[in-house]
């Protein structure tokens, strides 16, 4: 389906990443936003609160992030596309109910404008330190989808993508940006509404007494209804059967957990988006995401001038991780270089996927600023040896 023109601010704009997240949400048909102020993400909530009265929908500033995420799940079951924005400490507070959203198979979008951590860390300075938390932060086994924009334009584009994926797979989707992209002003092109393709969850329309909220369809994704439509359904955070009824035993746990994970794992090829440049015949491949992939360009260009064959692989979706592609490349390259603004996170995933076929050189940065491209260049030189 096409976007509703009401929410689409078609034209060329000069926006920061935070504002672009809000515009992406509105274009994607998000009509419910619950949030709590936290640097460096607050501008998204401010933008949404200023825009939504003209579009028709709800902005509510909740009492805390626990409330924001709970309200999002409720709103999604009330039939609205729902979003919040936060940063590290708020993301931590949301973890328990992210598990609930996964368990209830609830579409919703969370943008995390990352800052340096742990704890209060660096409220105003950048980091990419919640990348593993996005995947593993809530307890138990589950899968989510996470995207990593490298520009305000992608904050807009990938927020729409996050909504589409979230609705398709009935799973929370995260837009994992950072302070640098969030506060960076750039040109953002918002296309006409008719050029924006949107996906909605599969609505169940069959007989009321036959509805099973957790019966996987052929594509593994169960049909959804909203509260108030007369299906009188039940949903719970407890391990549940196809009816949504709690069943506290190992057999049902197996059905429930495998389903939550497999619906993403088995569709990973459809979800994953990466951007490769000159990876064919490359000796070294730089794997990066978000702002760091832009910083790495300088180092890559310098290395190419120095005669090193360097390819780049940019993760647009970080979760699920492109494990097959990394393994394929691992058998061909001399080494990988992974720069990221944290002290070893996604590098673990690259190391895992190479399965010992190629060494991985990490270029850490503990946060507060982006890399000096020279550090990445040195790592590329080292890798090419």
């Amino acid at each position: 389906m096409k976007a509703d023109p009401k929410g689409v601010l078609t034209g060329a704009h000069y926006l920061d990443g935070d504002y672009a997240l809000a515009e992406g949400a509105l274009a994607a048909g998000c009509r419910f936003f619950a949030g709590y102020p936290i640097t460096p993400s607050t501008e998204t909530a401010e933008r949404f609160s200023a825009r939504i009265p003209y579009v028709g929908g709800i902005f509510i500033q909740m009492e805390d992030e626990l409330g924001s995420i709970a309200a999002l799940i409720g709103a999604s079951w009330g039939g609205k596309k729902a979003m919040t924005v936060t940063s590290g400490p708020g993301f931590s507070l949301m973890m328990e109910n992210i598990g609930l959203a996964c368990m209830m198979e609830t579409p919703l979008v969370i943008a995390n404008v990352q800052r340096g951590g742990p704890s209060t860390g660096l409220p105003t300075l950048t980091g990419q330190q919640d990348m593993m938390q996005a995947k593993w932060g809530s307890h138990g086994d589950y899968e989510i989808i996470a995207l990593s924009p490298d520009s305000p334009q992608e904050c807009f584009d990938l927020t729409i993508e996050a909504f589409n994926l979230s609705e398709t797979y009935r799973v929370p989707a995260f837009v994992m940006t950072d302070e640098c992209v969030g506060h960076m002003h750039e040109r953002v092109i918002i296309p006409p509404a008719e050029e924006i393709e949107l996906v909605e969850r599969k609505w169940y329309t069959g007989p009321k007494d036959k509805y099973l909220p957790y019966k996987p369809d052929k594509d593994m994704i169960p049909f959804m209804v909203k509260a108030g439509d007369g299906y009188l359904f039940h949903t719970t955070g407890l391990t549940h059967d196809e009816r949504g009824y709690p069943v506290i035993d190992a057999e049902c746990q197996d059905f429930c957990v495998r389903h939550l994970c497999d619906k993403i794992r088995k569709n990973a090829d459809k979800i994953i988006r990466i951007e490769e440049e000159e990876t064919d015949g490359a000796e070294v491949i730089v794997v990066s995401y978000g702002i760091t992939s832009r910083v790495a360009i300088r180092a890559v260009q310098k290395a190419r001038k120095a005669g090193i064959k360097v390819g780049t692989l940019r993760l647009i979706t970080v979760w699920p991780f492109p494990e097959k592609r990394i393994y394929q490349l691992a058998k061909k390259v001399r080494a990988f270089v992974v720069p990221e603004i944290n002290y070893r996170q996604i590098v673990f995933e690259v190391e895992r996927c190479t399965a010992g076929e190629a060494p991985v050189i990490h270029v850490p940065h503990c946060g507060g600023w982006v890399h000096d491209p020279e550090e990445i260049f040195k790592a590329i030189k080292e890798a090419a040896k």
Binding site: G57, A71, G228, F233, T235, L238
Partner: protein
């Protein structure tokens, strides 16, 4: 004659319950079932469209209510039923959203959400079953445990001041506040009916027996003994000053309807304010 044709074999409450989930998990003598019965009776008497009623529960014994009522029903996380209900109500304003949970859930871990939903005058009903302890986990001390009462994590008796729930609700901005005990079945029903007919944040506290834990640990006897206590020590004082409603250990229980006022709920405030400030450009929501 077939068994199902015998009228007395079927209770009218069955229309409101997921009979495929019965028997329930509650202990013999527990008061939660009484409150559920009152709720079902209130729905029946209100002749409300059941398709438009949703129940949201948190975690704990009372948290299980959502799993037994034949309505759109959500069994959420510990303490977060109220913000979940807030999102649900705002996303689909035609719903009557009822939060049904316990004292530990709503006033222990979820207390902050309670006061903010009341402050906003969110148009939801909160029914709190208060059994003075955390029962699901084995009778630990709660924010409602009276001073002197024994609990598994207050083995020498509680010395913390408990919340007075109606006082807190009133101070936070609730437009309807009532307290009853599980003995006051018909009055609970009437309060729920009044709350269903009202727009705004309604709060109903129902003091109930927890025979297995609170009563046993404090040697208060069985369910009947507790109901007898409610009978002897409860005193109906409609409109009582909410500052006077503290509960002491086995002391007097002042019950009644304390607050019933009119005040525009959240969505009315939002629509009215933004229409005034933004004029015709404002896209009114949920009307």
């Amino acid at each position: 004659m077939k068994k199902e044709d015998l009228l007395e074999d079927r209770s009218p409450i069955e229309d409101f319950l997921r009979m495929d989930r019965i028997p329930h998990i509650w202990c013999p003598g527990c008061g939660i079932g009484i409150v559920v019965t009152s709720f079902a009776e209130a729905l029946r008497k209100s002749e409300i469209d059941l398709d438009k009623v949703a129940v949201v529960s948190g975690i704990g014994c009372t948290g299980r209510v959502a799993g037994y009522v034949k309505l759109d029903s959500f069994h959420t996380t510990h303490g977060r039923a109220i913000p979940f209900a807030t999102g649900l109500k705002l996303a689909n304003p035609e719903l009557k959203v009822v939060v049904f949970s316990g004292d530990g859930d709503i006033f222990g871990i979820g207390g902050n959400h309670f006061i903010h939903a009341a402050r906003r005058n969110m148009d939801i009903i909160v029914i709190c079953v208060n059994n003075f302890n955390y029962a699901m986990t084995g009778g630990q001390v709660a924010a409602t445990t009276p001073i002197m009462a024994n609990a598994s994590t207050a083995p020498y008796g509680n010395f913390e001041y408990p919340f007075s729930l109606p006082y807190l609700a009133d101070a936070s901005g609730a437009t309807y506040v009532a307290r009853w005990t599980a003995l006051h079945l018909r009055r609970v029903t009437k309060s729920i009916q009044e709350a269903l007919a009202k727009r705004g944040f309604s709060f109903i506290e129902v003091i109930t027996p927890c025979v297995t834990l609170y009563a046993r640990r404090n040697r208060l006897g069985d369910g009947l003994n507790l109901l007898k206590y409610y009978y002897e020590k409860s005193e109906i004082q409609h409109g009582a000053d909410t500052r006077t409603l503290d509960i002491s250990y086995q002391g007097k229980l002042i019950v009644g309807k304390f607050v019933d006022i009119e005040k525009p709920p959240f969505l009315d405030c939002m629509n009215e304010h933004l229409a005034k400030v933004l004029g015709e450009k404002y896209q009114a929501y949920g009307v």
